[in-house]
């Protein structure tokens, strides 16, 4: 090692004598040479006068390292004006591998420092290299050496490295105890799908989560996927779960540790709770690394990444380990590949209930409702303040354990099933969450992503080694010609690290071809105010060669519409070249790495939209989708209100998932809850709310809301008396849902009334009951003035809440009544 003078010396200095000769041993802080420097000092002359004089001071220079002197770079008498190298010292140990502050090779303490220390010894080995240990650090040189060894080995085995994410990529985990119960219950409709769910208990999981059971569903085809892929790749796990969690999962998916070995990196060792960094595992270069993950943002859309569609088996749970990550930008969750291209007439989503639900609709947005909304409710939605995140993680877990989102969903589903059986009109009227109407169990086991993924990984692997072979044969040929007769070292013949192509070039090359030349415009896909260039889907699409434009012009080739009948859709119809497709087309292309035919995904353009100005009425219908045909004045005005709020929320930059901003799915949830609530009221006290709503209109909303709020809080506290006082999140979610209800309630009540009136003429009783104040209903008490009625309502609600929860039978009835 070369010793260099520090810049802090008082230059110029004159070397007066060298104290060590080549071959001598030096220790740290031992003097190496004497020098003199000159400076001005103030001295007294003994008579009280102060004079400035120039003085020379001799000083010795001390060694900062141990070792043996090899060679002096300076000589006696030299005048040195600036920092130069003075001495070459041969160190016995360069401290290139350190463990917990000790040099792992010589055992010296690396954290020692003195006045003489320029660079702390710990800085000589700054790189963490081991997957499962943060105490071990190595120097850049050591890291390169280790990595090159690894690369040689991989190349000779014709393998690449594959970094695998766990949650929602190859498995889906939940802590909802409902799963355990369902697994025991052979009668349960979900029993079949849960047959291969594995469970384990984490004990050391921090306070408040003692002994929590985790249920893990492996993505279909995982075993063969891992087996096949491990022949082409060396597998690493990189997860945001804790170490214990990762170990448990690893022992489930790889019991004999033949696939992953101990190449497991968890958030305990990651060094960052918000992002994943490839350099943590491959500090020197990432040429031969491929990543599979369901989140692109945590990798900052690294070119090594293959983004997979998130695996969402436990509907609504999301990623239980994502609390620390930046919030996911939601777009329509990708459909299961198996069922995607064919239109599903029965599968009505929220958006499709307008006009008359009996008419078969195409698949435009059928997937966007329940799943996404549940992701929002379940795990994805957490406060993201750093100091709260850990709590949030805990709360998410607690929330799941206590609230059992799966059980709730299944109950709703059952109720809907019953409703569907008992009433044939219900299918057209049920404007809540009948996404899964044709299913009778909540959990679906039909994911095909891994099979596609395997093909894509094969392709990357093949292209990589094709390129490598091409380069090598070219290089070998050239070298043979140039160095004829000379023997090429055998090792070099095998693998030549200089010739290794870069996955970062190869993957984009493959991907760019797929959607190259596509110029996209989004419409109704991203919330207003989002940066269209940097949204997740945009970045993802761009990595496939897509150009994202914000305005439609002649260069545009595709309009990706999240909703029908937007201004951009109308504009796009003027260009015959532009294909108007659903978001699903783009997602499927990105997931399957294929430019799919647009035809199955074409958005049916409303005839009114073709070049003509649209009538406000029809626009209303299309955009406030769940609002059924209503020429009723109240309904319309309320719908306007509804839309206005939506716009305000969006334009205020409120996020879809923040507790106060609602997207349509959440509205649906609110709506559903509300319906039950109204239903219970209906049962006990006929239809007072509906009538009141119609009667009172906007002026009443505020009061109603207040009433709701107080009622809720009481129930909350009543319900949680016995519970652990935790679960703040749950409370907040609940409350925020309830608080908003005023407006929605109006709208829905109005809708129900009107739809009931218009579509069920054969049920006069119900219709009249719902229709409100005009027909006086049998149970309705005598006319009361608004304020009184309001108070009464409040009392009723309190009573209803305190009576205890309505049983499932009541729920069914309600469901029937509401249609």
């Amino acid at each position: 090692m070369l010793l260099r003078l520090p810049p802090s010396l008082h230059y110029p200095i004159t070397v007066t004598s060298l104290l060590k000769q080549p071959g001598d041993a030096v220790e740290r802080d031992e003097a190496l040479f004497w020098y003199v420097y000159q400076t001005t000092v103030t001295e007294g002359d003994g008579l009280g006068n102060k004079i400035e004089v120039k003085r020379k001071f001799p000083t010795k220079f001390e060694s900062t390292v141990d070792g043996e002197v090899v060679q002096w770079k300076i000589a006696k008498g030299d005048v040195i004006d600036e920092p130069v190298d003075v001495l070459e010292v041969d160190e016995p140990c360069a401290h290139e591998v350190q463990f917990g502050g000790l040099c792992a090779e010589c055992g010296k303490d690396m954290t020692e420092s003195s006045y003489n220390t320029e660079v702390a010894d710990v800085m000589r080995a700054p790189i963490q290299m081991a997957h499962d240990n943060t105490a071990l650090t190595v120097s850049a040189r050591e890291a390169t050496r280790v990595e090159e060894d690894a690369k040689r080995r991989l190349l000779s085995n014709r393998k690449l490295s594959l970094v695998v994410d766990l949650d929602q990529t190859i498995i889906h985990a939940t802590v909802d105890p409902t799963v355990g119960e369902w697994m025991q219950d052979k009668e349960n409709p979900n029993y079949q799908a849960l047959s291969d769910v594995r469970a384990f208990q984490l004990v050391d999981d921090g306070p408040g989560m003692r002994g929590c059971w985790y249920y893990v569903k492996l993505r279909p085809g995982l075993e063969s996927f891992l087996q096949n892929v491990s022949e082409m790749f060396e597998l690493h796990i990189y997860t945001m779960g804790t170490r214990a969690y990762a170990q448990h999962i690893a022992s489930i998916i790889d019991p004999d540790r033949s696939l992953f070995g101990d190449r497991i990196l968890s958030r305990d060792e990651s060094g960052s709770l918000t992002a994943k960094n490839l350099h943590r595992l491959f500090p020197v270069d990432t040429k031969m690394v491929v990543i599979i993950d369901d989140r692109g943002d945590v990798w900052r859309w690294s070119p090594n990444l293959i983004k997979v569609s998130p695996y969402d088996f436990f509907v609504g749970i999301g990623d239980i380990n994502s609390s620390f990550l930046p919030k996911k930008q939601e777009l329509g969750p990708p459909s299961k590949p198996g069922e995607k291209p064919a239109p599903k007439p029965t599968k009505g989503a929220l958006e499709e209930h307008h006009v008359n639900g009996a008419t078969a609709k195409t698949d435009e947005q059928s997937e966007v409702s329940t799943l996404e909304q549940l992701v929002t409710m379940g795990g994805g939605d957490n406060p993201r303040l750093l100091q709260e995140q850990s709590d949030a993680q805990e709360e998410t877990i607690m929330h799941q354990v206590e609230d059992r989102p799966l059980l709730q969903k299944q109950r709703e589903l059952d109720a809907e099933d019953d409703a569907a059986e008992s009433s044939d009109t219900s299918s057209s009227m049920d404007d809540s969450q009948d996404l899964s109407k044709h299913r009778h169990h909540l959990l679906e086991d039909n994911d095909r992503e891994l099979f596609d993924l395997e093909v894509r990984l094969e392709q990357v692997h093949r292209d990589f080694f094709d390129e490598y072979d091409r380069r090598r044969s070219r290089a070998l040929g050239g070298r043979v010609a140039a160095l004829r007769g000379e023997k090429v070292p055998s090792k070099e013949k095998d693998v030549d690290l200089k010739l290794v192509p870069d996955v970062k070039d190869i993957m984009p090359h493959i991907k760019r071809r797929i959607l190259g030349g596509v110029v996209l415009v989004f419409s109704g896909v991203l919330p207003l105010g989002t940066d269209t260039q940097n949204a997740d889907i945009s970045l993802w699409a761009k990595s496939f060669g897509v150009v994202i434009a914000s305005k439609i012009n002649v260069r545009t080739t595709h309009l990706v519409a999240g909703r029908n009948r937007t201004a951009k859709v109308r504009e796009a119809t003027r260009y015959p070249k532009i294909k108007i497709v659903t978001t699903q087309w783009l997602l499927d292309c990105l997931i399957q790495w294929k430019r799919l035919a647009e035809e199955p995904y074409l958005l049916p353009v409303h005839p009114d939209d073709r070049g003509e100005p649209i009538s406000p009425g029809s626009k209303e219908l299309a955009e406030s989708s769940w609002l059924s045909s209503s020429d009723d004045a109240t309904g319309d005005s309320l719908a306007d209100d509804e839309e206005a709020t939506e716009d305000i929320l969006k334009s205020a930059g409120m996020d879809q998932m923040s507790p106060i901003g609602y997207d349509e799915e959440q509205q649906a949830a609110v709506h559903e809850e509300l319906k039950e609530f109204l239903g219970s009221d209906d049962e006990s006290e006929s239809d007072s709310d509906v009538s009141m709503v119609d009667e009172m209109g906007a002026s009443k909303k505020r009061k109603r809301e207040d009433g709701d709020g107080s009622g809720d809080e009481e129930t909350d506290s009543a319900g949680e008396e016995g519970d652990v006082p935790g679960s703040r999140l749950a409370q907040r979610i609940k409350r925020s849902y309830e608080r908003s209800t005023g407006l929605k309630e109006m709208a829905s009540a109005g809708t129900e009334a009107s739809t009931a009136a218009s579509t069920t003429p054969d049920e006069p009783d119900e219709a009249s009951a719902l229709q409100g104040p005009a027909e006086s209903s049998p149970v309705d008490p005598a006319e009361v003035d608004p304020a009184e009625e309001d108070d009464e309502l409040e009392r009723e609600m309190l009573a209803a809440f305190e009576d205890g929860d309505y049983n499932s039978e009541a729920e069914e009835q309600i469901a029937n009544e509401n249609g």
Partner: protein
């Protein structure tokens, strides 16, 4: 090296524990809190006996009682140059991680005999001289401690097996 060391611990006791079983309770508390503890300097292996429990003193204001207990415990303080037996927890291209009881010891590649080489292609990966010496996860090793560094509540050590009579057992 193991020592029998006399130490002092102050335990405060809530008034609800005042009663006939107070002594047992104090002993339990002491065992729970002390055994297995790492002070950064040494590990407390086992509390042997109480020399003196002393007289409790009620703290003014809180009503809690404070006991100053003198006890003897077996402690282990790892020293540089000490030879210990350890179990391999994982092997890496940079070296071997082992546990000697509560102490984690790392053996760098440089401190492994040069004939024992890193062999990543086996399952699980191992260090081997392609004869009878195989070091993989779970192997017992005899190693010599080269350096010890106290941390807040742990001790890190590095070791070597590059000397006579060291290595897999």
């Amino acid at each position: 090296m193991f020592f029998l060391k006399e130490e002092i611990k102050v335990i405060t006791l809530h008034p609800s524990y005042f009663g006939p079983n107070m002594r047992e309770y104090l002993i339990n508390r002491l065992n729970e809190e002390e055994e297995g503890r790492c002070t950064g300097d040494h590990f407390v292996i086992c509390v042997m006996d109480m020399v003196d429990i002393g007289e409790g003193r009620v703290l003014p204001g809180s009503g809690q009682a404070e006991y100053t207990i003198k006890y003897r415990a077996i402690i282990w303080k790892p020293f540089r140059g000490e030879t210990v037996d350890a179990i391999v927890t994982s092997v890496k291209p940079t070296g071997i991680f082992t546990l000697a009881g509560p102490l984690s010891v790392f053996i760098a590649r440089k401190n492994i005999p040069s004939d024992i080489k890193w062999e990543p292609n086996t399952v699980p990966p191992q260090y081997t001289d392609h004869a009878d010496q195989v070091i993989e996860k779970g192997t017992s090793l005899r190693l010599k401690i080269l350096g010890v560094k106290p941390d807040v509540a742990a001790i890190n050590a590095i070791g070597t097996i590059k000397e006579d009579y060291l290595g897999p057992l």
